[in-house]
Structure formats: structure tokens, C-alpha cells
């Protein structure tokens, strides 16, 4: 049993974690007190010979106390949550100079699209034409710079998916027909999990990706390399081949392997 959240590596992570631990302490105390009272009463007022229950119909004073106290606690928690939620989810509060990319969820992969050498991300690109212009895209991997806000324009081409970065405290459903801006700012370089948190079909459990957080210089180098590599290959946009270590591991059992092959064939 582990009640501690995994370490967070985003700017708003500590805010969420603080709220979580406040609620954990408050509910933990209420849990202990009420369960203790329950057990204590059960033992103390167990049936004994010659004993009679006391005829008590209720108490208005008690009712007012246990109506008012929980109300104050939960409304307080609500007010504490307002600001954090708005900072994370309100589109108008997305930091203005954020690095932008598009992320498409589809059965059963994530496709990230980056601005190419021209530095312009083609946001109006139709899903079946990605990437447009000299944009480039890669599968099941997102590279982002550390300590810089990143806005992911989250989209889905078939069914609902949910973009989940457990280490960064990010979760947002990807909805067909919508482009939902999701922002975060990673505070530590490294590789982190991208998961799908919404049931999206039989390969749902394989829809894993990797978030690569790089230092500013590394990221710039990576971006340039990608754009150059693409220009050498073809004038239009293209999909970058996945590095070996980030490819999805194939499932253990044979049936699931077939599934993977089938879905891969469908999407290519």
C-alpha cells in the first residue's frame, strides 16, 4: 500500500500534490475518528443483560454541527482547488510563449507533429494529410524542451483517447472533432511515460509512448536534425522512424501479437 504520489516533474505538479496531501490528511483524520467511534460504540453499547437502550430521538444541535462542519470543509477544499484547476485547464491562461505541437491519438498510437524548418506549425492540417507543409511527425514519442511551457493541440481521428502523463500530472481526453490545447512545463530532463487512459478498443493497453524532455540546446539540435533529415528524404512532410528502444513492446501472447500486426497494417 502506497499512498504517496510518484514524484512530479512539471511546474503545476507540486500544486496538485499539495492539494492531494491536504485532502489525504483531512479525510484520513475523519476516517480514523468516525471508524473509531463506530467500533467504540459497537463495543461499549453491546447487548448486556439488564441493560436497556436509551430512548433518544435526535438532537437539533448535533444535526446543525454535522451539517455545518462538513459543508465548511468541502467548500474550503473547493475554493482551494479553483485556482489550481484554472491555471492548468483554462485556455486563456496558457503561457503565451509556449512551444507548440500537435498530438493525434488514433487506434492505437500517438502521432506528434512538429513545425518544420519554416518554424510554422500547420494547425489547419486535415487528419488524413498530416503532416502538412514541411512539418514533420513521429510516432509514440514527443520531444519537448525542459523549463519551457509546451502547448499540445490534442486531437483524435477515430475514437476517444486520453493523453496521460502520470509523472507530469497531465490528463486530457482527446475527442474526435475537437482540438483541445493542453499545456505543461517539464522541470526535469529525462524520459517519461505517455499513456492512454480512456478505453479505445482492443489495443488500448498498448497505446504507450515516451515523452523525452531535453535541455534547450539538446532540443534545438534534435529539432534541426529532424528537419534536415526530412528535407534530404522528401520535400513534403514525413514520418520519422522510431528509435529502437522507444518502440512499443510486443505483447506476450500470440493472439495479442496478431492484433498488433493487424492494427499496424491498418494504420500504415
Amino acid at each position: 500500500m502506497n499512498w504517496f504520489l510518484p514524484p512530479s516533474v512539471s511546474t503545476f505538479g507540486p500544486e496538485i500534490d499539495r492539494l492531494y496531501y491536504i485532502i489525504l490528511v483531512i479525510t484520513g483524520v475523519i476516517f480514523l475518528v468516525t471508524e473509531f467511534l463506530l467500533v467504540y460504540f459497537l463495543i461499549k453499547y453491546r447487548k448486556r443483560d439488564g441493560h436497556v437502550a436509551e430512548y433518544i430521538e435526535g438532537s437539533m444541535k448535533a444535526e446543525i454541527i454535522w451539517t455545518a462542519v462538513p459543508a465548511v470543509i468541502v467548500i474550503g477544499l473547493g475554493i482551494m482547488s479553483f485556482g489550481v484547476w484554472s491555471d492548468i485547464k483554462d485556455p486563456s491562461r496558457i503561457p503565451p510563449d509556449s512551444y507548440e505541437l500537435i498530438l493525434h491519438g488514433r487506434q492505437f498510437e500517438w502521432e506528434a507533429t512538429y513545425a518544420g524548418a519554416d518554424g510554422i506549425l500547420e494547425l489547419d492540417c486535415e487528419p488524413d494529410e498530416i503532416p502538412c507543409g514541411d512539418d514533420f511527425s513521429l510516432l509514440n514519442q514527443i520531444n519537448v524542451p525542459v523549463n519551457r511551457p509546451v502547448t499540445v493541440h490534442l486531437r483524435a481521428s477515430d475514437v476517444l483517447h486520453s493523453f496521460f502523463l502520470p509523472d507530469l500530472r497531465v490528463k486530457q481526453d482527446a475527442v474526435p472533432g475537437m482540438s483541445i490545447p493542453v499545456w505543461f512545463e517539464a522541470t526535469q530532463t529525462g524520459q517519461y511515460t505517455i499513456g492512454c487512459a480512456e478505453l479505445c478498443g482492443l489495443g488500448h493497453y498498448t497505446m504507450e509512448g515516451v515523452l523525452v524532455v531535453q535541455s534547450a540546446s539538446e532540443f534545438q539540435q534534435w529539432e534541426t536534425d529532424q528537419a534536415v533529415a526530412l528535407q534530404d528524404e522528401s520535400p513534403g512532410g514525413s514520418t520519422v522512424t522510431l528509435p529502437e528502444e522507444t518502440a512499443i513492446q510486443t505483447p506476450d501472447n500470440a493472439a495479442a501479437k496478431e492484433v498488433m500486426v493487424a492494427s499496424g497494417a491498418e494504420d500504415s
Binding site: C200, H204, A256
Partner: protein
Amino acid sequence: MSVTATKTDFDLLPYAGEQHEELPFIRKYIFSTDHKVIGTQFLFMSLFFLLLGGMLAMMIRWQLGFPAQPIPGGELLPDTMTPGGIVLPEFYNSLVTMHGTLMIFFAIMPLLVGVFGNLLIPLQVGAADMAFPKLNMASFWMAFPAGLLMLASFTVEGGAAAAGWTAYAPLSSSGEWTGVYLGQQLWLASLFILGFSSIAGAVNYITTIINMRAPGLTWFRIPLATWSLFITSWLILLAMPILAGALIMLLSDQTIGTTFFVPETGGEPLLWQHLFWYFGHPEVYILIVPAMGITSEVIANGARKPVFGYKSMVLAIISIAFLSWIVWGHHMFMSGMNPMLGNAFMITTMLIAVPSAIKVFNWLGTIWKGNIHFHTPFLHGAAFVSLFIVGGLSGIFMAATPVDIQIHDTYFIVAHLHYVLFGGSLFGIFAGITFWYPKFFGGIMNESLGKLHFGLTFVLYNLVFFPMHSLGVQGMMRRLYDPYQYDYLADMLPLNRFISISAFLLIVVQLIFIVNFFMSMRRSNKCGPNPWRANSLEWTLPSPPPHGNFQEMPVVYRGPYEYSVPGAEEDFLPQNEPPKDVERVPGPFEQPAD
């Protein structure tokens, strides 16, 4: 308070004395209009689905505890489900979908509403039967085929529905995404029919409670079980049509080419979620409120004390029912709905903690200074209270929108909903079945077996579901066929295996209940009308009550929880016992002294 019985009231109620002709077998046990028989039919049907839903859960737990290993006996299932005993990913998705669907719609809901609504309402309000007995019969005979239709979906090509019990569109709106075509359509049709059954039941319950109460049974003398079923019936009556509408829209998307939920041609995937949860959140309370009523009954009876704050218990139920209509957005915090709506829904959701806390503290107040008889129904009721505390408190984590970001769609939610639906509703159901068993089958269930079943179930239940909170906090998502594909979840296998083994034991100890349930039906096990020394009207009748229930119209003089009244001879005082200063029992047309 004085109440006058009118001639009309009396005419409405044919009492047992008037009709004693023997009915043929088929009218007595199959197409019966007797509310007790219909309640018993619902009992057998929903216990069967409860067991089946439990078996599906075992297969889910097997896959999570022992991934890619053959289920013992799994090779008996068709190769489209478990070839060589190994669960297929597509079958796994059907398992989670059908486990949720069967448990919610065909086990918990009919157990609480179909079973206890039917058995208790006429008995507790002092009526001969429901207001519309034939509609009542129709209610069961719609629910039963709906269940068969749902079962049949396992056998069709493509298998049973696999888009989750919430059937989120567009995954559910076309077979091309799941490979399930007919299965999903049968799922939709089955729930549509079940909705009619529920509405028919709700109309009956509401009418019966409003129109057919015995003289003297004022609103604030109604037992809390009936009160909770009354409020639940309103939720059903208002929520089910919304589901029916949504189901028809989704079925049209599936079959005749409409695109309500498909964006390419102007549809909107979020519309399904709004409709589903606008029905779905009241549904959540349909699944818990009657169990709260049952818990109040057994706790007061066990503690030999009046329910602490009876009126605030009633008001708390009404508040919960009201709030249930304005909280659906909390299921959609991560959905892409305007995020600023999140703040509004967070506050309404948080407010539900208030009536929930009122109920918990009033239950604690009820056992305070009591003289507690630890009979099996009371134990289940006390378990309800202790587990509902956990389920209520974990709800606060999810209501706080920023925290929900991390735990939404994880095992934290699975833990929470099972603390409410198993820890709450199912323990409430066990309390109800053991308490009112005499009114179904004439005897009381074996107390030793009952306590053994209770103790093992309570311990194993917590071993299964409490650790799930931890899995969720670590970020383990729901509905993953093989979570260990994710590196960071790989080391959660031991905990998952522990949960799975506990779950297998949990279902094994339910055999004790099954044995006790059937063994206690034998004729030598008869008990008197009032084995628990309780006050409400059903305990004035023989066990089981005859067709038509009351020989003469009961007259009610007081509330249902007059236990340990100072000066009374016994520690209980039945609702229909005339006050001492009344010389004789007044007839139904007289004004009872108060």
C-alpha cells in the same frame, strides 16, 4: 396528528379475507400479480446475475493477476473468448463492459428496487398489493427478457459489447472500432427494454406510497426503507427516459446511419457523455439510496433505539436526490467539456458530502447508547456504514478537480465505486435479504452461517478493494488488458496478484451465503411474524404473509422506530399497537387517537 380514513381508501384495498380462491400454478408463481411473488422473482433473477457478474470479475482479476496464463477451466469457453484458456484482449474488453453492465443494471438495481421495492412497499404502507398489480407483473416480464437478451449477446458473432459499461461514443457507435456489431446493438436494446421495466416499477411504487397508505401512516411515520424507495422511484421515473433517448440515438448511429455522436458529419461525441451521465449520476444514487434506507432499518432494530434524527435522514435522502441532477459533469472533468464548467460541478459535487455526512453521523448517533443485538442484518448494516465512510471520503479526492487529473480513469475510481456499490449497496442488500428473509420464505436464515459469511466477506472485501486506491494513486489506468506493458506499472504485478487471490477467496465464501439461502427455505425452519421484534407493519403479518397481506386494514399510531420507549413493557412498540388509553382497536373509518 389525526387522520381520517375515507370510504375511497377502503375501496381501493381488497383485503385477504375477500379473495382466497386458489390460483393455478402458472398464475401463482410465474405470471403472478402478487407483489411478494414478483419480488421473489426479481430476487432469483438478480442473484443469478450477481453471481454471473462476479464470475466475469474473476476472469478480469485472473488476467490482471496472472496475465497470459491459462485460466483453470478456461479452455471450456469458446475460442473466441479464451483460446487455450488465455483471455483475449477483445474478450477482456467485453468482460469489463459486461461485468459493469450486469452488476449495475441486472444485479444491484433490481436487487434494491425490484426486490425490496416490491416486497416492502405494500407491506410497510399497509396495502394489499401494488396500485397496479398487472403493470407490476409486466415490469418483471420486461426485465427478465432484457436480461436474456443481454446474455445472448455473449453468443453472437463479434461477442458482447466491448465499449465499457458507459458505452462512450464513437467507440460504441460503430462496430468498426471494436469489432462488435450485433453485441453492442443487443446491449442497447436490452437496456432500452429494462428501462421500461424500471419506469413501470417506479410508477407503481410512487402511486402505491402516495395513495395506499394505511390510516394514520403520515409521511413522517413511513419507515426509511420505504422513504428511500419512494425517492429512488422519482429518480428512476425522471432519469430512465433520458437513458432511453440516448440509447435510441446510439442505436440509430449503429444501425440506420445517423451521426448523433460522430463529428465528421456534424455529430458530437461529448453529447453522449452529457446524456449518459445526466442519467448516470441519478442512477448512481438509485443504486445506493435504497441501501441507505435498509441500513437505517437494521441499525435501529439491532441497537434497539429510534433512528437518530429521523427527519433529517429523510431530508438528507431528498437532498442527495436533488443534488444528483446537478453533478453529472464530474464524470467529464477530463472530457474536453469547457474546463470552466469544472469549477461549478466541483462545488455541487463537494456538497454531496454534506447529506452523506449527515447520514453517517445519524447512524453513529443511532447506535450510541443503544443495547446492540449483533444479528446478521445489523452486522451488514454496520459494515455498510464503515465502508460507505471510505467510499464517501475517497469521493472528495475526485471531486477536487486538480487531484482528479491524476486519478481520473485509474484504479482509484475502481476502488471508490466498489466501496460505494459493493461496500455500500451489496452489504445493504445482504442486510436486507437476511432481515426480510422471513417475509420471502417464512423462516430466518441460519445466524451462525450468516455471521461466518459476514465476517469472511467483510475482511476479504477490504483486502480486494482497499489496495486499489494505492494502484490508482500510482497511476494504474482502468480497463488495461495487460497493464504491465507499461514499465512503470510492471512492479504492480505482486499487489495485483494479491488482490486477485483475495477476490477468488471472496467469491468462494459466497458459497456460504448460497447454501444458507437455500437451506433456510426448508419447511421446518418456520418462524413467527416478528422474529426481530421490529415495529413496522410487515412484522404484524405471518411469515410469509398471505396473498392480499392484511386480514383487516391496519391503523398506524406512531413512527416505525419506537424502540426502548420508557414505560413500555417491551423494547419495541409496533406501529399499529393502539395507545394504552384507547380501550379497543378503532375501525378503519374512525379517527384514531394520537
